[in-house]
């Protein structure tokens, strides 16, 4: 299964099990979404449970909050993460705070999906990775799957979760695991073991990271597309790195991270978002706090540059295997 199919399947499973699950967003109904992640759901579950929304992200999230307060479990799509900003107030000031401010009288069990990241020549308005803007907001959970198996299991967890979950889908992974070697042939999911997705209901719990490669020399913290970039860099450099796919950024699996860095004594953090105040900053701070006495080299961050995501210069911007490789080497040389 591709990641798109896995996401569609998660929707299908949940809509089938629970009448309260409703799905809407721009172009999500009849057409099934511009990335086709909701294809066929309207036909199967009817227009009242899967429908097109007006182009108003604040309205999409705002009405979803009202529905969630009613008792539904809305799962809405923001067409691209770059277009979540108009909805940011409803996410931050409302969804994230409702349970706390009403002391549990009202809650907002909704899932907000959005494609993130670059690598598709989408330029600055189809490439952003705004995860740090969510992790700074208490009351939101933030999830980034990196493969079909996790995508389905995590999305089911997100929909079942009683708190608002931001579900970020690395769009460059929709159709295959991408390691940053844009000049090589595209690899389809079918070639990857994590594209084996069980039928029906299963969950991948929120808040638990996955060790994608065990190793002893350096810990690489990554999520989404960067997991594959890290794998490529590690194998190209021939370094015995431990690669952790964070999967959930908040709540974060700090135990797994700290245990790994205490073992390897080195840490490289990789993400596609701009560097300053990116989620890598938090990871760096946490690793430093938890593993100060174990660290043998400075923690490195390999990230997108602090510029808008450019069009023609996409591959100069993207933190590919070469840049990650250089960081690994620097850290190992200490």
């Amino acid at each position: 299964m591709t990641m798109i199919e896995a996401i569609r399947d998660a929707h299908d499973v949940m809509m089938g099990r629970d009448d309260n699950v409703v799905v809407f967003g721009e172009d999500v109904g009849y057409f099934g979404g511009v990335f086709r992640c909701t294809k066929g759901l309207q036909q199967k579950y009817g227009r009242a449970r899967c429908f097109d929304a007006p182009i108003n992200e604040s309205g999409i999230v705002g009405t979803a909050i009202g529905m969630a307060a009613y008792g539904l479990r809305p799962c809405v799509e923001i067409q691209f993460a770059d277009y979540m900003y108009p909805a940011y107030d409803q996410m931050v000031s409302e969804a994230a705070r409702l349970r706390h401010r009403s002391a549990g009288d009202f809650t907002a069990p909704l899932t907000i999906r959005m494609p993130t990241g670059g690598g598709i020549f989408g330029a600055q308005t189809h490439s952003q990775s705004p995860e740090a803007l969510f992790t700074h907001v208490c009351g939101l959970k933030t999830v980034v799957p990196s493969n079909p198996y996790d995508a389905k299991g995590l999305l089911i967890s997100a929909i079942e979760d009683d708190d608002p979950v931001i579900f970020l889908e690395p769009k460059r992974l929709y159709n295959g695991p991408f390691d940053g070697h844009h000049d090589r042939p595209v690899v389809p999911w079918s070639a990857h073991p994590l594209s084996e997705v069980p039928e029906g209901h299963y969950t991948v719990p929120l808040g638990s990271a996955s060790v994608r490669r065990t190793g002893s020399d350096v810990t690489v913290l990554a999520y989404g597309t960067m997991v594959y970039v890290a794998e490529a860099a590690v194998s190209e450099q021939g370094i015995d790195a431990e690669i952790i796919d964070l999967r959930t950024l908040l709540p974060l699996d700090t135990d797994t991270i700290a245990a790994s860095v205490k073992k390897t004594r080195r840490c490289v953090i990789v993400h596609e978002a701009t560097r300053t105040s990116g989620f890598g900053a938090e990871l760096s701070a946490i690793v430093q706090e938890a593993c100060f006495y174990h660290l043998e080299a400075p923690i490195e961050r390999v990230t997108g540059w602090d510029t808008p995501y450019p069009h023609a210069q996409e591959w100069d911007y993207f933190p590919g295997p070469e840049r990650v490789g250089r960081a690994l080497k620097r850290v190992m040389e200490v």
Binding site: G59, T63, I65, G66, M67, A69, L72, D89, S93
Partner: protein, 410 residues
């Protein structure tokens, strides 16, 4: 290219500022009873005039007249007056409590009591209001305990909001009162979403959104109208036009439109304008709109014309931006006086009865206050728990919050 005169920026100003004498004699107010009452399934395009008029029931001498009159029994009207009196007494006590340092902040609804109190009576159990901070009347009219409201104001050990929220930010699902947000306008699309959920589930509950004149300028107002219009959500969208948004007069939000109700026309939403200080008129219009929603006929927009007689909040002093006499000069009068007058005309009320009712509501409010204060006030007595601050951020406390709570030592 022809020469043109230079452009200049038009910045609307209110008719009166401190130092000038307010005079509303030029304002046309339709006579009570003169505005027609269409059937609830009237087509929006056939009732556009209702957004440019003012539906009124109580005339100058206190009679209830016209097609919107006669919907309330004598007992209901008497109870209504007492409810409004209770809201005002509550406001007076809480305002004073703030001045006495028992809490940090308070907001009165003086002069606007009829709107929330009458609207609440048009709803059924299970319906849901999405209020702003000036609809305490909804809670009081629904019978929510005054003690609980006060405990919220005091942020004390029995505060249903556990000390977390600014005073007046009540929440009561059981009483159909959605958790108030400090962020203006956000509740409007939420009300629409809640109403859509009722329709999706095939239930019969309806929602009511509330917003102030100033806040209609907020973008979420548009989001709400778009969704309500498209999905014909069973929702009543209320605009309380009390003429002011802190120091800013309603003309800044309204702009070139004659009325706020007219905003509904661009969405094909039936839009009515009503005298907000006229309890029977508010009730009748609310009933009409709620019935539309309940019968799956879709949303209704209602503008209540009223006046914010008090300061915006305890942090505000309106004498800096509007004439002190403006409230008195305001032509729609006081809702309590007007209903009292109506009841007197109907021989259902006397001065003695009024004095007695006043004593009753004041005693009730004071008793509640005493009880509430026994659970603490903001700075003295039992307190909301600090440990509790970490609860309800999520349903289950994640590890990092547990660590932080430990670090905090609570």
């Amino acid at each position: 290219m022809p020469a043109h005169d230079p452009l200049n920026l038009h910045v609307p100003e209110p008719a009166f500022r401190p130092g000038s004498r307010p005079d509303f004699s030029g304002v046309t107010i339709p006579k009570a009873g003169t505005v027609r009452k269409p059937p609830v399934d009237a087509a929006p395009e056939d009732i556009r005039d209702l957004a440019y008029s003012i539906i009124r029931v109580l005339n100058r001498v206190g009679e209830a007249v016209g097609p919107w009159a006669g919907q309330l029994s004598d007992e209901e009207l008497q109870a209504a007056l007492k409810t409004m009196m209770k809201v005002r007494a509550y406001d007076v006590r809480m305002q004073m409590a703030q001045r006495q340092g028992k809490t940090s902040f308070y907001m009165q609804c003086t002069g606007e009591e009829a709107i929330a109190c009458a609207f609440q009576m048009a709803l059924e159990k299970g319906d849901m209001n999405f209020p702003t901070y000036r609809q305490q009347g909804l809670l009081i009219a629904s019978g929510y305990p005054l003690v609980d409201m006060m405990c919220q104001i005091y942020s004390n050990s029995r505060d249903p909001m556990k000390g977390r929220q600014l005073p007046v930010m009540y929440s009561s699902k059981a009483h159909g009162f959605f958790s108030i947000s400090g962020n203006l306008g956000t509740q409007y699309p939420q009300a629409v979403g809640w109403a859509m959920a009722s329709a999706i589930k095939g239930d019969t509950r309806v929602a009511a959104g509330w917003i102030g004149d100033g806040s209609t300028a907020e973008s979420d107002f548009h989001a709400a109208l778009v969704f309500a219009s498209t999905y014909k959500a069973p929702v009543v969208l209320n605009i309380v036009n009390n003429q002011w948004a802190i120091s800013t007069f309603q003309g800044i939000a309204r702009g070139g439109s004659g009325t706020f109700a007219a905003r509904g026309h661009g969405f094909g939403i039936p839009s009515l304008r009503v005298d907000g200080n006229d309890y029977p008129a508010v009730y009748a219009v609310a009933k009409w709109a709620v019935e539309r929603a309940r019968r799956n006929l879709g949303p209704t927009l209602i503008e209540y014309v009223t006046y914010r007689a008090a300061a915006h909040s305890t942090s505000d002093d309106p004498s800096a931006y509007r004439p002190k006499e403006e409230s008195e000069a305001w032509p729609l009068g006081d809702p309590i006086e007007r209903l009292k007058n109506h009841l007197s005309v109907k021989k259902l009320w006397t001065e003695e009865r009024h004095t007695q009712a006043m004593a009753e509501v004041e005693a009730e409010v004071m008793a509640a206050q005493k009880e509430a204060e026994s659970f603490g006030t903001l700075h003295t007595g039992p307190k909301a728990s600090a440990r509790d601050m970490f609860v309800d951020v999520f349903k289950e406390m994640p590890p990092h919050l547990k660590r932080q709570r430990q670090e905090a030592g609570f």
